[in-house]
Symmetry: C2
Subunit: 520 residues, 2 copies
């Protein structure tokens, strides 16, 4: 911290001192404050400190992006566009439309939708007017969109950035600003058909992205709730126990059990009964077996969930995706809004240990860090009704592709590959070997642009031929159109193939066709 | 407002009362507060009020998007994608790469870059950690990107949303969240070549979007500064007078003069001298004429600007765009960071008066509201240096396409057009006329997906043929593949052309090829 920073710290401390010494009403109010209100007050004082600092003069400017965020350079963008194009093709193949919503919503719109994760929401500063928050996912804005526009039927995808004040782990592709690619089906339909299509989509996308082997875990909120009831978890603890079960992919059962008993107040034997169920994995057979479980099948919720699970697997059979889908009772997913089927896709591939930082290697096996979940989703039949003034429900099911982790893997692949990633699509560079031909170069370039040719020209009056050729080599431009006094006199252009170094004189009138032919 | 809202209002007022009555240090501090600090305090109290309200219980939830923002429905998205694709094609034709930056930056990164517009920046709430703001444009993040990554040469485009707490005028396409499409060239090059390419790009894009006639106004900051000096404006008033001149596109000269004299403290005759210059318009000829102006050409800044303007027009001549480009001394542009050439494109077309609200019709002519600026930009040679720890400069010039206004016009066009906008690309619907064929429909659909065909199937066990055909008519699906007991027995599918109602039996093995052939 620089000297001026210290000054404002001191000013700030002075202000606090004065306040607390002679400001009993403020203090009296404070004594009734909740922890979040105290956080607020601290935030305000820090803001005030910043303001005072700003008024006092300059301090050292830190050149960086905000914590947990990153820029994408052209090479990363080229990879990103390739990934998006595969995903969008799949969504379009399934007949989806697309929509967009604002990056921020009224704070209230997001309130009460994310359970324990709500603390990770970014709020905007109150600058007068509405209280706003950055979107945390694309699902809640989608439900708000449906309710606001009274839409009861839609199949849509939405690709956009979402924001979470989480602990970033950038080498594993976990950021505070990250893309989600969501596909959702809203509408009252026959059971499990849209749900099965969502799983088919995850399967298709992960296959086409060629990220190695993967598994898609499936479960149902109703099965979880039924299981909790049967095991003796009190109703009011279902959601919080659900959050704890959700940690089973990162924590050992022993630690999850400890959290259930010590933090969430379950008895040991209730936890053990849960432990038995959550170790179960299978397919349609497991659904059938649990339907025979006398206790579980007595529970209405569990029975409905298991019956649907059986039906789901029959559709997945028709879609030929059962080789990767597992019915797994340990899958919970933390979000509050799920009401039926839930699922999550996990890559088997691991990121080489050398790439991850020591702090991130907790729980990693010898081979490296597991990439973890790359897609997830489920059914949320109650969310739209929470927004509708009359509580009208619109059943929904959807999936979200965790694209950032996929980008991380693709970037690593590109780095180790020998193939160079092109970041432009330029077909030809207009060049000259002689001086004083800038005007002729600009004129020809303009003619090529007007004919739809992707063309570049160096912004120098008299560039060296070598530096013009170097630019082509560096950026992968395949052709050079070379102008000289002689070519101008003859009404031709020397067209050079950068890779083979072959040159041929092409009449000006044929140049556009010739470039098109050579860069198909 | 509901009862609970009133309660928290009263609580809030009570709190304020208590504070001001028995809280002298707070008050003493207040007396030294700036207006922005008072705004802050008010914002904090409002936040506190909201918190108290939240703790007390429910209040009426307002279902809406944040002020000045909007959702895009599938039809709007289809239009948006068409516009983007034209613009991106143009950027790629000119050899540009693309990058992306986070939606928020450190608050400091944006500080001091936008002059009087800085008050429109959205800040994030201080939730502990860094002070952040939403990006206000894509230019400052671009400069930050170059400095952070030590890049001295790049031609890039960036299409993303930016945020301004401006007064929204939604029917004219003015939002608080809106897209910018930026193209910039960074690097030390020979004078005016990249600048001319930017203007060529604006010309190409506005031509291809087919929005009717347009003009591109050009000026230079150095000419403006020289003109101010020659007219007798004190140095420290250059920027603020520049902001006032910038209003000439919305206000009459008389009102602009009034602001200069009454608010900015210029003398009448200084303002009148400015008035003479800012009425001048022309092309290369005007630059030449002003170079003969004894006072202006004596000014170093003005001389450099006019010399470059002459050179710029010679390049624009080669690019064949001088029919739309005007050298206009009244063009100012408010942003602080411009150092050389500036420009702005204006559509001649107007939005029908019936679409705009009365409040927006100020200054509108009889025919309707002028759409105003749809593109703008200029040279900013100092901005990157503001971020570089050693102050190293990277000269830049760029253009930003004001895409929202273009969307508004395109949407209105689409509404009045008889042609229906398709929002999906589905080639075929898999249907059946008989009951109990869901499994067969799902199996065939899956086969089509696997073959890369865009296919849909209704999520009903036994949908009526009529409702299946209706779905095709409504969404523009051209083909229906109909399954029945007989077709299954014969190993064929009845392929129906929705428009012509013709039906033909196609062997299952030929179906994919037949669909591809018919939906080229």
């Amino acid at each position: 911290m620089n000297a001026l920073g210290l000054v404002s710290m001191r000013l700030c401390a002075g202000l606090m001192g004065r306040r607390s010494a002679v400001n009993p009403p403020f203090l009296r109010f404070s004594s009734g404050m909740t922890s979040s209100q105290i956080d607020e007050e601290v935030a305000k004082l820090l803001q005030l400190k910043a303001q005072l600092g700003g008024d006092e003069g300059k301090h050292v400017f830190v050149l960086k992006t905000a914590k947990g965020t990153r820029d994408y350079n052209p090479k990363q963008m080229a990879i990103r566009e390739k990934v998006f194009s595969i995903i969008i093709s799949c969504f379009k193949r399934h007949g989806a439309e697309t929509i967009d919503t604002p990056v921020f919503e009224l704070k209230e719109t997001l309130t009460g939708k994310y359970g324990e994760d709500s603390k990770l929401i970014y709020d905007l500063k109150d600058q007068g007017g509405e209280l706003l928050s950055l979107r945390y996912d694309l699902t809640v804005p989608f439900a708000r969109y449906l309710a606001l526009n009274k839409i009861t039927n839609i199949k849509r995808y939405h690709i956009a950035k979402v924001y979470r004040r989480d602990n970033p782990a950038m080498t594993r592709g976990r950021y505070r600003e990250f893309y989600q690619c969501d596909f959702d089906i809203a509408g009252q339909y026959d059971a499990m058909i849209p749900d099965a299509e969502c799983l088919k989509i995850v399967y298709e996308i992960l296959n086409e992205l060629d990220l190695g082997d993967f598994r898609i875990k499936v479960n149902d909120r109703r099965i979880l709730d039924g299981m909790f009831a049967v095991c003796g978890v009190p109703d009011e603890k279902f959601r919080t126990i659900c959050s704890t079960v959700d940690k089973l992919d990162k924590m050992a059962w022993e630690d999850v059990k400890k959290e259930m008993v010590n933090e969430k107040g379950l008895s040991e034997d209730v936890a053990d009964r849960i432990g038995e169920y959550v170790s179960m994995q299978g397919g349609q057979d497991l659904a059938e077996r649990l339907l025979q479980d006398p206790k579980l099948s007595q529970n209405k919720q569990a029975f409905a969930g298991l019956t649907d699970m059986k039906l789901l697997f029959s559709y997945l059979e028709l879609f030929q995706v059962t080789d990767k889908v597992v019915f797994d009772l340990s899958l919970a997913r933390g979000l509050d809004y799920y009401t039926g089927v839930i699922y999550e896709a996990i890559l088997s591939q691991t990121i080489p240990a050398s790439v991850s930082t020591p702090a991130e290697q907790n729980g990693a096996d010898e081979a490296g860090v597991s990439v973890g979940s790359v897609a997830g989703g489920g059914r949320y039949d109650g969310l739209v009704g929470m927004f509708d003034p009359k509580g009208r429900k619109v059943p929904c099911v959807g999936v979200s592709i965790g694209i950032e982790r996929i980008f991380s893997i693709m970037e690593q692949k590109a780095e180790t590959s020998s193939e160079k990633v092109r970041t432009t699509e330029t077909q030809v560079l207009v060049a000259s070997a002689q001086k004083n031909l800038l005007e002729e170069r600009l004129k020809l370039t303009s003619q090529l642009w007007n004919a739809g040719i992707k063309a570049e020209v160096l912004y120098k009056k008299n560039p060296k031929l070598l530096s013009q050729l170097q630019h082509c080599e560096e950026t992968g431009i395949p052709l050079v159109a070379i102008l000289g006094e002689q070519e101008l006199k003859d009404g031709v252009v020397k067209l050079r193939n950068v890779a083979s170094r072959e040159e041929v004189d092409v009449p000006r009138a044929d140049l556009v066709d010739e470039i098109k032919k050579r860069t198909l």
